[in-house]
Symmetry: C2
Subunit: 283 residues, 2 copies
């Protein structure tokens, strides 16, 4: 089976894909939009995409695409610890520029402010691109913030280990597919969820409150709610909601009630959640 992931090689998404798909061919894509399009056009049978980070919040490119385009289903979620390293081509030189993805630069902000307050920050499309750039320019006094897998992939040194702002830094990844996938035993099944987007009828005050009522009085546990702009006008939103899949029948009753209130429900998937331990990554 062909499995697409947000590349290049050595990215966090590559790490997740490697843990989840042991015997499949993994194919890197340059951007999330290209990857999502490739999955829709069946160039790959599954796709691994980042959805939300515990510090930086939702990955809007993923969420917006799933909401605005077609009918893509999530078949599993993997919660993966994010450990960022400061990588260099040659050890113990001064560092004048630091390259990384904007989210990784944000996660390393406290570290940079303390150790490299004068370093110039340069944004790249991904952490792995930053690592590749540093490895291609060994003469420059530059560093990349990227995962350990990128150090292996591009033969870089770890100048500082685990520089991210918080110990508890996790990212949720979704596996998109046509059918359920069996996960290797190194992944731990923790719970089951359903993710959906609600679009409220416009000019109906209190519609969000009514929508949440349908879950609340049934004691359905909501683990996430987030508004995203509908891209029509300032102040118009859709809502991403995650529910624990404890009472499947009650959830379907709630959906029927929402539909009777003219609240549109788009289900992104009903899926098992798996976690990966930090120790399993350090190998």
């Amino acid at each position: 089976m062909l499995v697409g992931y947000l590349g290049p090689k050595g990215s966090f998404t590559h790490g997740v894909a490697s843990h989840a798909f042991l015997n499949d061919e993994l194919i890197p894509y340059e951007s999330l939009t290209e990857l999502l399009k490739a999955f829709e056009q069946e160039a790959v049978s599954a796709a691994v995409v980042p959805v939300e980070n515990s510090i930086e919040g939702s990955v809007h490119e993923t969420i917006d695409y799933l909401f605005h385009h077609g009918d893509i289903q999530t078949v599993a979620e993997i919660v993966y610890p994010i450990q960022q390293q400061l990588l260099v081509a040659k050890k113990d030189r001064p560092i004048h520029e630091i390259y990384s993805h904007p989210q990784a630069l944000a996660q390393g902000k406290a570290f940079i402010d303390r150790y490299y307050p004068k370093a110039k920050l340069e944004m790249t499309a991904s952490t792995a691109y930053a690592a590749r750039y540093v490895s291609l320019h060994p003469e420059k006094t530059i560093a990349a913030i990227a995962p350990l897998s990128a150090a292996h992939e591009y033969q870089l040194y770890v100048q500082h280990k685990d520089i991210q702002e918080m110990a508890a830094n996790y990212t949720r990844f979704w596996i998109l597919g046509k059918k359920a996938v069996e996960m290797p035993t190194s992944l731990h099944h923790t719970e089951d969820k359903v993710s959906l987007a609600l679009t409220l009828p416009s000019n109906q005050p209190g519609a969000l409150y009514k929508a949440l009522s349908t879950f609340s009085w049934r004691n359905i546990n909501m683990t996430k709610i987030e508004s995203r702009p509908l891209k029509t006008a300032l102040g118009e939103y859709f809502f991403i909601i995650d529910l624990l899949m404890e009472k499947e029948e009650w959830i379907h009753f709630a959906f029927e009630e929402l539909s009777a209130m003219e609240i549109a429900v788009k289900v992104f998937g009903q899926y098992p959640v798996y976690t990966v331990n930090e120790k399993e990554i350090e190998q």
Copy 2:
């Protein structure tokens, strides 16, 4: 009076600051965090910061700083139309690379896909930096996506006009200050609002629902709700809420009720909202 804004010269925030403060000295800051710190340390008496765009959503760096740091008050909001231009140093050459802020690249995505599908996209810290870079490298076949004010500031040509994805593209800017500011008559006062952040007691299911109840049964009009990660663990959020300031007394009753429910309320400000017409920008 000294007024700080997110620079450099020619940025959208510079445009907003120029419309709001006709007779004050405007001082550019390189990043939002530097600007917010300068305002906290009283290096400037007021600051102009972007808060939310109708397509890309909230500006997290602003929202997160106001939530996590000190007690900064918003004294006015300005809703400003965003019109993006494709700027070049020399007209009608091929364009191989396009520079801009990630949000502007996102807003110009449909345009780029149609007219320059092969152009390499390069992220910069702001649209105005992109314009400055293009003006400093006239020999290169590159372009910037930036506002008209940047074309004037850096003597660039408008190769394509108004390339943003939607006609209705607006950004909300907040003016931070110690006291109310009087706005010039070119700005139109439309409504009054109050913005706040709610932090819910952990492990209390349905707490968000209860919080929204306090506004809903009083018919207080909520114009925005957005969750942001608390940065403690995956799945813990605070909520940014905007309310129309129509019934001031009722809003204060609601705040007392929230506090009785152990829901923490942090008020970002109670402020008038002003709009700027598109025609006023094109001069």
